[in-house]
Amino acid sequence: MALQSTVVGSYPKPPEEGGSFALRKTLQAWQRGEVGEAELAGARRDLAREIIAEQEAAGIDLVTDGHVWWDDILTPFAGNMAGFEIGGLLRWFDNNVYYRRPVCVDEIEWRGPSSIEAWRFAQSVAGGPVKAVIPGPVTFARLSVDEHYGDHGRFVEAIASVLAQEAFELEAAGARFIQIDEPALLGAPEDLELAKRAIGQASGQLEAATTILCTYFGDAKRLGAELFELPVDSFGLDFVAGPDNRELIASLPAGLGLQAGVVDARNTRLETTDEVAATIDDLASGVGADNLTVSPSAGLEFLPRDKAKAKLERLAQAAARVQG
């Protein structure tokens, strides 16, 4: 397969400068009880359709639903499992963005899919495959509070079994690409063995879907080459916040993919197409263009809409240029 381009997940929800922010207006009206669930769902679908078209127009091969249905990547899942309550706001890693911390108060159980409906809609309006994104069990556990299990390993495995079911259902619904986000693993090398088992629960359920273990906001130096023993098909690494990842990929085993974050999803400065092409060219010479997918360094929701769009356009142009 040739060099591909993708996004990590989230996408800015506001319109470009001067546009009408329909989703926010509808959410405000919904909070006041002035509109119902159906109208809110409609506003979300409209924005997802627009965002998918925008990614496609920029030239991105593998798109996402932009997380239009989510406020953060944990609460949609935690809120839909038995055993979790949703706690207070906490900073999302080192960003001026917040998430609600899930609090585990009882036995965790699957209660039905959390992300399938949104994925299915996104796939129905996209021209190509839509990547599904789920949180990874280690990140999920580390960003939550465990008041029930009292043992980190058991807590991770309980979460992993529910996420494995989600991955299974996503594949059954037709998802061909499933990304598992594990940014917290970068700071938790002691969880690597646990992660192998926990992520194996999900990937072991899958027949044909391509799995991507995605990290961002830093380098995987502390995990080292052992990262690549995690049972997935491809690894997402951030080369903007983690330039040292460049050394690590020398040990990426043949046949595994690299999803490389090469444009800064957290700063508005626009990289030139030349700059991005040089980075991609360098990575392609390391792992082979056929094994390489390029992306922004993280979800794009940290940026205003116009900057996110401009970055995607340059990313796709640079990828096309390297592809030749």
Partner: protein, 327 residues
């Protein structure tokens, strides 16, 4: 250290900074955006709201008042709009449906005119009690902005620090005795705590006022006790939001500065009962000296309703009154 010159045995009451805006401010802003009123009319509404908040704080016996920031939107954007070198970018989300215009450094940051002095003077003219001067710290402005200009975050922080220092000096010249330089981003990255300290040194070095910083939302347990090296007289922290778990850290490493003790959750709609708040103060006094303690909510109250904020502040005042009686 600049000790505080206030009456009483300590346990003084204050606020962190922002207070909710009454409906007439929001509608005034919308009308201003539509061009239905002019700038002066909007400012008049902001002055009225400031006056009402000063009157309210005086009515419950607050010791060190805030102006309530009725004229500010976001604590970083407010400075970004006023400072050359920074401009406001497009909307980005912080959580849920909350969005803000994240500033962008597009050139070297400087300062033309005073940014906060006029509002401080107005608020101070309305009360005999001291009103805090409220500034956003250089590290937080850097951390919450995009950077298209500076080669390093340190360069960006140190330029901002000079600007905020000049503003603080001007507040001091106007008579301000309590100057708060908020660094809510300080506990975000442990490896940059030295940069927070370096920036704050530039700001507070020439000041004679009692200096305060407010820090929130982060990994306190890792930032403490190192955060005591931030060169300010007082650190204001949130306790309610973390069930007073920071007290465990104080047991191991005594808190050595004045403290702003946040005892009411700024992000909850509940107006906590007086007795529970008093219990929080009593627990804290096992580790803290009353003559070094200010009591306030966890954080700015701008996201609460006016009634919720008044309820919280009133109950804090009543709880402090009870515990003061027990000293």
């Amino acid at each position: 250290m600049t000790p505080v010159d206030l009456p009483g045995p300590g346990l003084w009451t204050t606020s962190v900074g922002s207070l909710p805006k009454p409906d007439y401010i929001s509608s005034g802003r919308s009308r201003r955006a539509r061009g239905e009123i002019d700038k002066a009319e909007l400012v008049e509404l902001e002055r009225r709201a400031t006056r009402e908040w000063i009157e309210f704080q005086d009515s419950i016996g607050t010791d060190v008042l805030v102006d309530g920031e009725q004229y500010r939107g976001d604590m970083v954007a407010f400075f970004a709009e006023a400072l050359p070198g920074l401009e406001l970018g497009g909307l980005v989300r912080s959580y849920g449906i909350r969005y803000y215009r994240k500033p962008i450094a597009t050139g070297a940051v400087g300062r033309d005119d005073a940014v906060t002095v006029e509002w401080w003077q107005y608020a101070q003219s309305l009360t005999n009690k001291p009103v805090k001067g409220m500034l956003t710290g250089p590290y937080t402005i850097c951390d919450w902005s995009f950077n298209e200009h500076y080669a390093s975050r340190r360069d960006f922080v140190l330029d901002l620090a000079k600007v905020i220092r000049d503003e603080a000096l001007e507040l001091e010249r106007a008579g301000c005795r309590f100057i708060q330089i908020d660094e809510p981003a300080a506990s975000t990255r442990m490896d940059e705590l030295d940069l927070v300290i370096e920036g704050m040194e530039v700001v507070t070095e020439p000041l004679g006022a009692h200096t305060i910083t407010h820090i929130c939302y982060g990994d306190f347990h890792r930032a403490y006790p190192k955060m005591l090296d931030i060169p300010v007289d007082q650190i204001d922290l949130e306790f309610a939001n973390s069930d007073f778990s920071l007290l465990d850290d104080f047991a191991a490493n005594p808190f050595t500065k004045y403290i702003g003790l946040g005892i009411s959750d700024a992000h909850s709609h509940d107006v906590e009962p007086v007795e529970g708040l008093a219990h929080g103060i009593r627990r804290s006094l096992e580790y803290l000296l009353p003559e070094r303690t200010f009591v306030d909510p966890d954080c700015g109250l701008k996201t609460r309703s006016v009634d919720e904020a008044k309820g919280k502040l009133s109950n804090i005042a009543k709880a402090v009154e009870i515990v003061r009686g027990e000293l």
